[in-house]
């Protein structure tokens, strides 16, 4: 290290691995806290109280209150929890699609080009428009949005997995297994899957931030969750009506909370990637 001066800062005494683990631990802890606390909020806790309409942030109501006197902090927290749930559903589903596609592509040349063509097809319509289409097609709601997001976000992971599988397929041990007469399925299970498992985990976590953001955007536009649900997109689109009257806290804090949530997922994902990927271990 360049500055070998003795430091009393505990952070600088840790090595990279410890720092990475600490970052992952902290971000996961916050995320878990958000989800758990949102689960404990009943919809009945978000009561309307017209005595405290449109109050700016105070210690009692950290994020202020809305035009029905509801506490914005509770609503935001509930919304974040909902976002994480939908994000989880969408990312896991899109990972499954990606895995299925990548495995299909590894069977033979024709299926492989079919898969690249499918990726092209899904990338040729702007994401937002495609999510809107799928969401409309499936009748909207949480189901529609989850499906929309899932069906638009598998492409990146599928490409990564395809490249990995191709590389593994040319390796000596796979060729040897083929000579031994092992079936494709056996090879896929014993040689390919263990090697791509880390990619799948990292890929799923890194879909999360995009999924959450797209869900919020589509809900904001009015194609996603129904207006009575406490989603961040709904909160923000409601706040649009009150912007002109100067109720800035209605839009600022929920959005900021969503930003932090997305950032935490990104940080956690990137650090887990660093931890699992042996090529970056010597940085």
């Amino acid at each position: 290290m360049v500055n070998s001066k003795k430091s009393y800062n505990p952070l600088s005494r840790m090595n990279l691995r410890q720092k990475t683990l600490l970052t992952i631990g902290l971000s996961v802890l916050i995320l878990v806290l958000v989800v758990i606390s949102s689960l404990f909020i009943n919809s009945s806790d978000i009561t309307t109280n017209f005595k405290i309409m449109n109050q700016p942030p105070s210690f009692e109501h950290l994020f202020g209150t809305d035009w029905m006197g509801r506490d914005m902090f509770t609503r935001t927290l509930k919304g974040l929890g909902l976002s994480v749930q939908i994000g989880a559903g969408a990312s896991i589903l899109s990972s499954i699609i990606a895995i299925a596609m990548a495995l299909m592509g590894s069977i033979n040349k024709y299926l492989d080009s079919l898969m690249s063509w499918l990726i092209d097809l899904f990338l040729s319509i702007p994401h937002i428009l495609l999510i809107i289409l799928i969401s409309i097609g499936l009748g909207g709601g949480a189901f529609g949005v989850t499906m929309g997001v899932a069906f638009t976000h598998w492409t990146t992971l599928a490409r990564v997995l395809r490249a990995d599988i191709k590389q593994i397929n040319t390796s000596d041990y796979v060729k040897l297994s083929e000579r031994f007469g092992k079936s494709r399925l056996w090879i896929a299970r014993h040689h390919i899957l263990p090697l791509i498992v880390t990619q799948i985990i990292v890929g799923t976590i890194l879909i999360f931030p995009h999924a959450i953001m797209h869900e919020a955007s589509v809900t904001f536009l009015g194609f996603g969750l129904s207006p009575h649900e406490p989603a961040i997109g709904i909160i923000l689109s409601e706040s649009m009506k009150y912007l002109a009257t100067g109720d800035w806290w209605l839009a600022l804090f929920p959005g900021l909370a969503l930003l932090i949530l997305v950032l935490l997922f990104d940080i956690a994902g990137e650090n887990i990637k660093k931890l699992l990927d042996p090529t970056s271990a010597n940085e």
Partner: protein, 330 residues
Amino acid sequence: MVNTEKILKFLGKKIVRFIILLIFVILLSFILIDLSPINPVKTYISNVIISADQIAKLEAYWGVNEPITSKMVNWLGNVVKGDLGTSLIFRIPVIDVIKERFTASLVLMITSWLFSGVLGFLLGVIAGFKKDTIIDKAIKVYCYILQSAPAFWIALVMLMVFSIYLGWFPSGLGVPIGSLSENVTFWEWLNRLILPMVTLSIVGVASITLYTRDKLIEVMNSDYFLFAKARGERGWNLITRHGIRNILLPAITLQFLGFSELFGGAVLVEQIFTYPGIGQAAVSAGLRSDVPLLLGIVIFSAIFVYCGNLIADILYNFVDPRIKEGEEDG
């Protein structure tokens, strides 16, 4: 020199591929819309009270109860003739709506695309050049935050700060209330363009900055860069001669590949600033089940994205001198 024949062949192949792709895009969106509980007749009659007999007539006219195949064949037949149908909410041909809206959107998208490209590239070069300094860290943090920020929220905050709190810009609409779009002066129009444009640019900066930074650092670690340094080149001159020359083209290519994201950003930004562009039209078409308009917009957005990808491909395959040489036997 660039081989014209090869480019033509390349273009021909690309266009054929695109037409096939477009057919499937149409097929996909058609099936999705057909699956949905959307009913164009309801939109068309909106609140007018008419008899069940007339509804049945209209349904027959729109072909609501026909099977999807014949619906699609009818629609496709008209599309080939250049007729995309009539928009249900604007009551004028879809092609006219798209023409008007897309021009407005293109102005917005292209200006912010250029702006974000130049700004992102500059920031990336500065961050790469000043690697590990406070400037680099500031730029990196800025990019990470922007990447995680929902575009529509940034637009909301911009609207809040600049049009409501500071009052510098009007809060929305392409033209001032009460005047026709033909009578708008250039400055009035520009005044309304600035805020959406700046927002869209800010949103698009992050990816290009981070890419440029990484590429520049890669170049700075290379042997030829080290040699240039050893020859006594230094400072900004060194970066322009060896760094930027190497990273400019990939950065431009990346910027062209971002057309899809640009369109998505435009949808959200237009919705918030109520800018009368294609994105806003798409949202109202979706919300008010204007099927012909929605399908038309999907097609044009696919063409838009494909143009970006095609330009990126051409830049990559024909303009980049390093790849051109390797292609000779290909």
